[in-house]
């Protein structure tokens, strides 16, 4: 036989065997793709932010479709609209999404705290933190370089007077900033709250006082004044338990340094409410 024809036949036969084996395998070992999962996935925004607690939108869709996850309101960026769509696909009742906003637990602007060095290293909070805890004299507070600002998908974070601020109207509550901040001063809270502790300093009162006139000194006044017993001082820092907080604002009234503030943190979804006034971050109790 002609060697060329033989070679062509040989390769063709090998290819044919491979394709037949693959075709049989794909039929025999087919894994049924869940139709519900695909439909649910189409409803989700596809930002893969991980706010729902799963690795991405695919993970959340898979968990919902398999019945592992029963809550349809976990997609915080998607808000009520997505929750309704998902609930519609799954045939369950839609639950209201508790929208979350990011809060910066630091108000150590340049007029209330001092720098301890002239930091000229890599422009990243992560790197600055490694270098003697950053340039500010308070090592717990905002490092002021803006890693959170860079990671925010909505450009909702801006730097002003050396600290980060969150624009509540733009924040979608994805929590990427909270994961990025090396000092962990950003947390996600339900946007129904009215009070927040704007300090992250765990040092004793006298030490805190020295580095920042705005810091929490752990004086316990708020604890004593809270009618709901929602505040506790944990290692020299007041912490509000939002499951108990009644938004009365008494803590903010008695706070000596003004580090507990009362404001409205409603986010993007509730701005059509005419009664809601936006907090004015820049002017917040700077005189303290």
């Amino acid at each position: 036989m002609n060697p060329i024809i033989f070679a062509v036949i040989a390769v063709a036969v090998i290819g044919l065997i491979c394709s037949v084996v693959l075709a049989i395998a794909s039929k025999v070992m087919a894994v049924p793709v869940n139709e519900t999962e695909q439909k649910v996935r189409e409803c989700l925004p596809g930002a893969n932010c991980g706010a729902c607690g799963y690795a991405g939108c695919d993970g959340y869709a898979a968990a919902l479709a398999s019945g592992e996850e029963t809550k349809t309101n976990k997609c915080i960026p998607g808000s009520d609209g997505v929750a309704k769509l998902v609930a519609g696909v799954l045939g369950v009742e839609a639950e209201d999404v508790i929208e979350q906003v990011a809060l910066v637990h630091c108000l150590g602007t340049c007029d209330v705290t001092k720098d301890k060095m002239n930091y000229q290293g890599i422009e990243s909070c992560k790197a600055a933190k490694l270098f003697y805890g950053g340039r500010g004299s308070c090592t717990y507070g905002c490092l002021g370089i803006g890693d959170c600002m860079n990671v925010c998908p909505q450009n909702a974070i801006y730097m002003d007077k050396g600290i980060a601020h969150v624009d509540n109207e733009l924040c979608i509550g994805c929590g990427l900033c909270a994961k990025t901040c090396p000092n962990g001063i950003i947390t996600l809270v339900p946007d129904v709250i009215r009070t927040m502790v704007t300090c992250n300093n765990h040092d004793k009162g006298a030490v805190t006082r020295k580095v920042c006139s705005h810091g929490c000194i752990g004086c316990m006044k708020c604890v004593k004044n809270c009618p709901a017993e929602a505040i506790s001082v944990v290692s020299n820092l007041a912490v509000i338990d939002y499951t108990k907080c009644q938004n009365c604002g008494k803590c903010a009234e008695v706070c000596v340094t003004g580090c507990i503030m009362e404001a409205d943190f409603k986010g993007i979804w509730n701005t059509n409410d005419p009664d809601v006034e936006k907090p004015e971050w820049g002017e917040e109790k700077a005189e303290d």
Binding site: F6, A7, I122
Partner: protein, 198 residues
Amino acid sequence: MSFKALVVIVMAGILVNNYTLRQFLGICPFLGVSKELKNATGMSIAVIFVMLLATAVTWPIQMFLLVPNNLGYLQTVVFILVIAALVQLVEIALKKFMPPLYNALGVFLPLITTNCAVLAVTIANIDSGYTFVESLFNALGSGLGFFLAMVLFSGVRGHIEASDPPESFKGLPITLVAAAILSLSFFGFNGVVENLFA
């Protein structure tokens, strides 16, 4: 075929003939997937797995099908065909029978279907005149070498991320420079393995 010979083959695959850093094969995953240690190890384990499988399949094909029929020149074509089909088959089988393993390796398997490092191992086995067992050990060593390169480089890249190179070096250029220096260091292993038991 002694135990010593097999050790020499494995060590040569890891250090002296390191596919990524000495022979510059499989650079695509080396640069693409080495950003994080977790992905780098997942990819490397998939490569070891596929290299072993590919060797186990292509060596008999070469010896019992191509050579007796004087079709040695079809080696490259047939090997690519067989390896691609094999990896697809493994992927389907993993998806069905071992979902956890599929979740760990699944994303990487299609990437290495036609990877040149995998093909190079199978061809090198034939060219070096290895027996079947020696071929398998060579595949293992080469895979481990890839693993070593990936793990080392993911560490290097972690440091590059935290550094501040000049604007024109940011991104891929500085990565390539780092890869070149890492590669240079592997040239220091010249002649080490041959005299391992001397």
